[in-house]
Amino acid sequence: MSEPFEPKIVAFVCTYCTYAGADLAGTSRLKYAPNVRIIRLPCTGRISPMFILKALQKGADGVLVSGCHPGDCHFNHGNYHARRRWTVFRSLLEFTGIPQDRVKFSWISAAEGSKFAELINSVTEDFRKLGPFDQYKKLIKETETAATF
């Protein structure tokens, strides 16, 4: 029996809400799964779909994107713009066979340390169930193989 699969998760978060929420989870000593790696951006408005693709290329089995709740954006509108992008982008991913389940979006405020911890646990469990993103990993592997002539 092999060890249970541990997914690699990359999270892109805004510094004002979700990053602060993650800090609060820390200062509150809440415990959550260690699978997530956080990349801090000033605002969800800065989170480009390219980041998500690169995280997948780097071998992520799941991606989380998170920022301030609507109306709470430090920069007023960044999250509204982001929400439109995500709506379109996740539909595009789904259509190309990159399951929507692998890219998750959330609003987590600076006060929601416990929501952050719970969310990380639940998405880690979700990604664990999905298993490794083998189809994509096959393509990554292909890029690493030297061409033969």
Partner: protein, 276 residues
């Protein structure tokens, strides 16, 4: 008089009167069912003009050739309704001024063609708005419908097969009126967001990014798919994006030149069913 002949007379008049400096239309192509673009500067060149149901290419992109519009002179161009919508988008994105473009409108119904009345893109507002309604109720492309029935893994396999053929020739980009960037993201290697090697992963990334950049801007003219030498059904991706912006934001690309770009604008009450 046939539509083609009526237009020939009109084009000659436009050129001889000096109203426009050039007319962009169609002429015979290498095979009987293909047409190639025809750039007419003199009335004599108009004789070669062909306007029939094979004239399906969206010619609007040619207007953006470097320096063509910079002298402020007017250019006339043959456009179907999709091409007219392209003009609106290009005007909205400040790539051209619509009062520099004389629209020679026509539409194709089966093997018949008909002239569309109007001179400026804005004259066709009723048409572009009504096509919004029509698009909403349009039956889904059978191939799209088939794809949507599949499991994600099956869809992935479908696109893996399609994209594995991509040779990164960028003909899709060249053919697309909306791909007017001076430097495409794929040509930016600092950083190299999109792998330029034509391995399948890079091809996935390239085609996803292109479809994303066209979301809410594509008029579904089909230029990209026709240009693809390896027959990747690129149009399906763009159709999906149009479905999405229509359903989620009630945005139909190119209705007018005052329309705000869908991804540079927002509504506070945009739906967000998927956010945890």
């Amino acid at each position: 008089m046939s539509t083609q002949e009526t237009y020939k007379t009109k084009v000659k008049e436009l050129l001889s009167s000096g109203k426009v400096k050039m007319v962009i239309g169609y002429k015979a192509g290498t095979t009987a069912d293909r047409r190639r673009p025809h750039f007419m500067r003199t009335p004599e060149e108009v004789d070669q003009l062909v306007l029939d149901s094979a004239c399906i290419t969206n010619l609007s992109g040619y207007l953006l050739s470097e320096g063509l519009l910079s002298d402020g002179k007017e250019i006339a161009v043959f456009l179907k309704p999709d091409g007219i919508r392209s003009i609106n988008i290009l005007a909205a994105e400040a790539q051209l001024q619509s009062n520099q473009v004389v629209v020679l409108g026509f539409d194709i119904n089966g093997s018949e063609i008909s002239a569309l009345q109007g001179e400026r893109a804005s004259d066709f507002q009723a048409l572009t708005s009504s096509s919004n309604e029509a698009r909403l109720h349009k039956q889904q492309h059978p191939e799209s419908a088939r794809l949507e029935q599949m499991t994600p893994a099956e869809r992935f396999a479908y696109w893996e097969d399609a994209f594995s053929r991509c040779i990164k020739c960028y003909a899709c980009r060249q053919a697309c009126p909306m791909c007017y960037c001076r430097r495409c993201i794929v040509d930016n290697n600092q950083p190299q967001w999109v792998n330029t090697s034509s391995h399948t992963l890079g091809n996935f990334e390239w085609n996803i990014v292109r479809a994303f950049h066209l979301a809410g801007r594509c008029v579904e003219c089909g230029n990209c798919g026709r240009a693809c030498p390896v027959n990747i059904p690129l149009g399906l991706l763009n159709m999906k994006m149009t479905d999405e912006v229509l359903q989620s934001f009630n945005h139909y690309p190119g209705v007018s030149e005052t329309q705000e770009p869908v991804l540079a604008s927002f509504k506070k009450n945009d739906s967000e069913t998927f956010i945890l």
